[in-house]
Symmetry: C2
């Protein structure tokens, strides 16, 4: 089923206003949720919306809380998310990082006490559309075992990196687990294996069986020991830069996960005199990449961000694909 | 064979002075090479030294070239490495990033026209010992195929992240390929498989046979498509921030690799009023990690940087293990 983007956005806005978001904030949050689905990331768009509303009703997310500046130190600011909506907090702090980068060339914002930022890539697109490069990451509740251990003590701490290039930036948005829990659930439901090993089964064997991985709760870190190490330092930096909580201090329950720490690091790369041909130079690298002969002639090499633009265009034309049950559930909220 | 650290350092200094390095610069470069071996990273210490000297003699590395400031824009500087020694250039630019972070809380240095930085982790330890967090990365010559392709058009672009914690910081230093070429050569020579699949053989099958991977030249990106995407954005950012070359513009020959681009991003995390208990909070996370019950009782969970300290201590006591043939080769230079 497909729903026109504007209908989707307006419906989400209606529900957000109904649960206590002020008009202007409901509009931004609804746009962010709807754009996630528009861009093909429904797992952090419409599909995540019912849980978000449950969290508002349960008092995990405070719809009235706006982020507050805690400490300002030249190009570095610390903000308190006050347990408000994670996407509104992240949106605001990305804007602050951009503003700091305009002043100092580089801007760094640490955000404590926030909630799940939903689709992290959104903040990469936001910075890139302002001509800034962005490095941003979040910690999460414990959901991944450190390398060599069985018990989840690390988060899968997604990392976003964006490089501006006019209307077609390069944006990555990657968790430190090889597959997200959402993806594993989708494959498990469809009876499909993971394309590469995605975790361990209950006997401790690496497997491509998503159901077995969900049962053991042991997802594979991206690049084995490397993703485990990277998840750890991202957590430490998020805690350090924001002054907020580390993964170990976050409730290990998807419905009650709150108090996250995040970092937004923007660089105003366009301001250098030597940056006049920046977009052309990025395009030359991308063109070279796209021209690499593929292993499979039917699957040309892609760059990160390419599929998003294609999906966005198609969904604006034809409507955003939605899960009918979830759409009905949201319309009834 | 073990050589006392000071003998190793002095011998390298002698050779560097002989090939044209000024006294003070020979001392720093020798220390960096010797410390890599001291810390257990001989692949970028003594073992790499003969190739470095060949590159000096071939005119790839200019022993007299000091890095020069090209452009200064508040917290962001661009430097020209002038094809000088990669470790001296990176050392200088890490110092600049720290100095900028002292002024602006965050400091970002882009370094163009440089050479291989040897052991990247060194700059993480350097920043951490100054109380700064560091994110730093370099591009390399094309040595890794993009996801879905056979031809190497990406670098394996190592990333360094450091979190300060007194004398025991947390430091990662990871290439975007699952295994370095040095590691594959070592395993191949020893007739050992890679512990997890490390690349493709010439028939396009994922394999743990290092000899087959070296023959095909197709190393596996860290985390499959994820390492491929991350290598691309690190290359684009290195080019963008430094104004220097992208991987595609770097000669694809380990003996002639030059003109690299690097980024050094320091955050003076200790300056916040809220950072008084920073080391304790980092230690609490590390202690929690180390206390995770391991899969194999004989292999406790480790944090990145832990083994370095242990190796350094042992090698300072007992001498630095060296490959006897390489040590003799260097003594005869």
């Amino acid at each position: 089923m497909r729903v026109p983007f504007e209908d989707l956005r307006a419906e989400l806005e209606r529900v957000l206003a109904a649960v206590g978001f002020a008009t202007d904030r409901a509009a931004v949050a609804a746009r962010l949720f709807a754009e996630a689905s528009l861009d093909g990331v429904g797992s952090h768009g419409l599909n995540r919306f019912p849980r978000f509303i449950r969290q508002v009703r349960a008092g995990i997310v405070d719809p009235a809380a706006k982020p507050a500046l805690v400490e300002s130190c030249r190009a570095w600011e610390r903000w308190d998310g006050r347990r408000g909506a994670g996407n509104l907090n992240a949106w605001t702090c990305t804007d602050r990082a951009i503003a700091l980068a305009r002043l100092h060339a580089v801007g760094c914002v640490g955000l404590a006490n926030t909630n799940h930022w939903m689709r992290g890539g959104a903040y990469g697109w936001q910075a890139a559309s302002a001509g800034c490069a962005l490095l941003a990451w979040t910690n999460t509740m414990p959901n991944m075992a450190p390398w060599g251990a069985r018990e989840p003590r690390l988060g899968n701490n997604p990392l976003v990196v964006a490089v501006p290039r006019g209307a077609a930036p390069v944006v990555i948005d990657m968790a430190m687990s090889q597959f997200s829990y959402g993806r594993l659930e989708g494959l498990s439901g469809a009876g499909l294996p993971t394309p590469v090993p995605g975790g361990w089964d209950e006997r401790g064997q690496l497997t491509t069986d998503p159901t077995a991985i969900l049962r053991s709760g042991r997802v594979l870190p991206t690049g084995y020991w490397k993703g485990s190490a990277l998840a750890l330092v991202l957590d430490l930096l998020a805690m350090t830069v924001s002054g907020g909580r580390a993964t170990r201090e976050i409730p290990p329950d998807p419905e009650r996960e709150t108090g996250l720490s995040q970092v937004f690091l923007a660089i105003d790369v366009g301001r250098s005199a030597g940056s006049a041909d920046l977009a052309d130079r990025v395009t030359a690298v991308i063109d070279d990449l796209l021209a690499t002969p593929p292993v499979d002639a039917g699957a040309p090499v892609r760059y990160p961000g390419e599929q998003v633009l294609r999906t966005r265009h198609e969904n604006l034309e034809c409507g955003v694909p939605v899960d009918e049950a979830i759409w009905r559930e949201v319309c009834a909220l």
